[in-house]
């Protein structure tokens, strides 16, 4: 899938950084998850809320892939969160907001253009030095590793397979025996 937000260099830095945070993140496509969030408005409907009620992985039709349309109010909230308020009055009713895109641009720059070629110790040192950005990236890495695959990460359920988690299970659910027995 073509990237929605990152250029190739930025994508490579994010992917390498996520792999240091969560081993296996590259296989699971965690950087695609982050790219999908930051570029949510590059597609219609925006990739904010996956559809329902079932994913098709355990029966039923595959509904997660049809993202739910946003109302103008929802769009205001998510555009502001992602793009920042940028001086636009209707986004600044309680003051200016720094968006995720800007935090990523600055965080990626601070990790350095040569981040992908550094050895792992150096990568970890740079991540530790950027504690705020790394905390944000780790949150997103966790979401991309263990969230539903329809958001771009957890490719083919590989994040869930690593931890033996079945993920969404509707409409099959769990039998009473699976609930009550070891």
């Amino acid at each position: 899938m073509p990237q929605l937000f990152f250029d190739d260099d930025a994508y490579a830095v994010v992917a390498a950084a996520c792999e240091r945070l969560i081993p296996g993140a590259t296989d699971a496509g965690v950087a695609d998850y982050v790219d999908g969030l930051l570029g949510a408005f590059a597609v219609d409907p925006p990739r904010i809320w996956a559809g329902g009620p079932f994913s098709g992985r355990h029966g039923g039709d595959a509904g997660f892939g049809s993202f739910i349309p946003l109302t103008p109010m929802d769009e205001l909230a998510w555009r502001t969160r992602i793009e920042g308020s940028q001086g636009i009055a209707e986004r600044e009713f309680n003051g200016p907001v720094v968006g995720l895109q800007q935090r990523y641009r600055e965080g990626i720059a601070a990790l350095g253009a040569d981040f992908t070629t550094c050895d792992p110790e150096e990568q970890d040192a740079r991540l530790r030095a950027q504690a705020d950005f790394t905390a944000l990236l780790y949150e997103h890495a966790c979401e991309g590793m263990y969230g539903a695959p329809e958001y771009g990460g957890n490719r083919n359920g590989s994040g869930w397979q690593r931890i033996d988690f079945e993920g969404d299970v509707q409409p099959r659910g769990y039998t009473d025996e699976k609930v009550s027995q070891p």
Partner: protein
Amino acid sequence: MGSGPGGSAAADVLTAAGWSVVIFEKGRNHLLDLDDPERLKGDYSNDELKFTIRHFLGPDPFLEPRTFRRRERDGDHAFVGDVNNVPSTVGGGGVHADGKLPRFREADFRLHTEYGPIDGAALADWPLTYDDLEPFYAEAESLVGVAGDAGANPFAAPRSGPYPMPPGAPMYGATLSAAAAERLGYHPYPAPTGANSVPYGGRPACNNCGFCAFYGCPIHAKGDPVAPLQRALLSGRAELRPETFVSRINISNGRATGVDYVDAAGHTHTETARHVVLAAGAVETPRLMLLSGLDHPLVGRHLMFHFQTLVMAGLRQRVHPHRGRSVTHVHDDHLVPDDRSKRAAKDAGLPWFRGGMVEHCGPSTPIQEAKLYPWGDAHARSMRESSLRERMWGFTMQGEDMPQATNRVDLDPTVRDVRGFPVARITYDSHRFERAASAHYGERLTEILHEMDAEWTVTTTSPDASFPYGDFISPVPQSKHVMGTARMGADPSTSVVDPYGRLHDVPNIVIADSSVFVTSSGYGPTLTLVALALRAATAMMR
């Protein structure tokens, strides 16, 4: 105002009596087809990102923040964002609650008489008794569809009949913690739950998917408040208007004449009405009263949340807390003072204290778990060993929270919502009563976990004033149980509404949510607020 459990129950009673009702709801409709209310929507899903991280059910804290401070001397506010938010959507908090729906006990309505006053707390008896409410409890249980076992809880108040459904499958972890609790002399029982254990009300039985608390049910096995809302809409006499924010109750000569509301396009309109029912929840209801100039000095005061004691164990074996309906067992022993708790209360300088209902539970979803571990090479191993999910089990006690006049909702002086209205500001600090009770029962719950052969245990509380703002555990309570703020009573100088929820000052405004609670008890508020809403709506027709 409000399509949650309280508003839906009131709408059901009023439409059944032939009244025509307009239900204003500021949130979106993901619940049912307004043209054909028998058809339930398919927007809910087993999706951790959507429900717990991306505010799918609202309110989005950017669009509709609240503010918080512990005390007035902390300044205008110390925190802006999610302050114990309950969903803002058609169905309200009933949509994503896991629906433990116990009744209160007789003593809960008369704590002041039963146990005596507490220094610094505005403890009072309710102006009604358990017996007054019993028929409405029974009606609420059958309306919503509650699964439970009537004889299983020795502390339960008398009932006029059985539960409409038997309990659902016990979670494995609960079978272990319930057995350990029993060995120590406690009395765990299957939690009364508003999720179908058998097909009921035209909806299927729960299939234990595990994405229950904080999630809408993809197969609509939860009954609250879809059942009363469906009935009200099917009567043909109710109109539900999602995405409409009521900004003001219009009052003239001591009577409400209707409301002003802002529609999805941002336009303001007026609707006239003979009666106005407020069921916006115990934070938004007083906010709207204050926005409307209803200035009884007690509006917003005596705000209560449950003081939660969270006691968790690391276990040797996996207990898969992600299978089942979040909580299947509870125990009520800590609601009744015993010799040990009486001694502890005395040591803490209190005449008495008590805790609340204890939910046997564990953490169920992996994103939440993953964020707790440090990043780096050990992450993958931590996740596979899963000491903070698959091998974690314990208790949440919903501790009784003393009413204090200084704990309140008012209007924030500077922060606005997206529509330009002042947001609710919450000033809240716990009383010594809750903290002492929590410390005592926390130790007793830890004993149960050791009886389960725990490898380690940990105890935290919500709120916890020693944590920073912004974390899940913080000075901001996250109980999702919100009560008080327009307490009921017979005397207009000490209460905001009468025993039927009518404002003393403006009797054609009726409150049908947990704002009217006089005390918090140690039980989830929802069944009681639904029973009170049924009773208040019934009284409106007299």
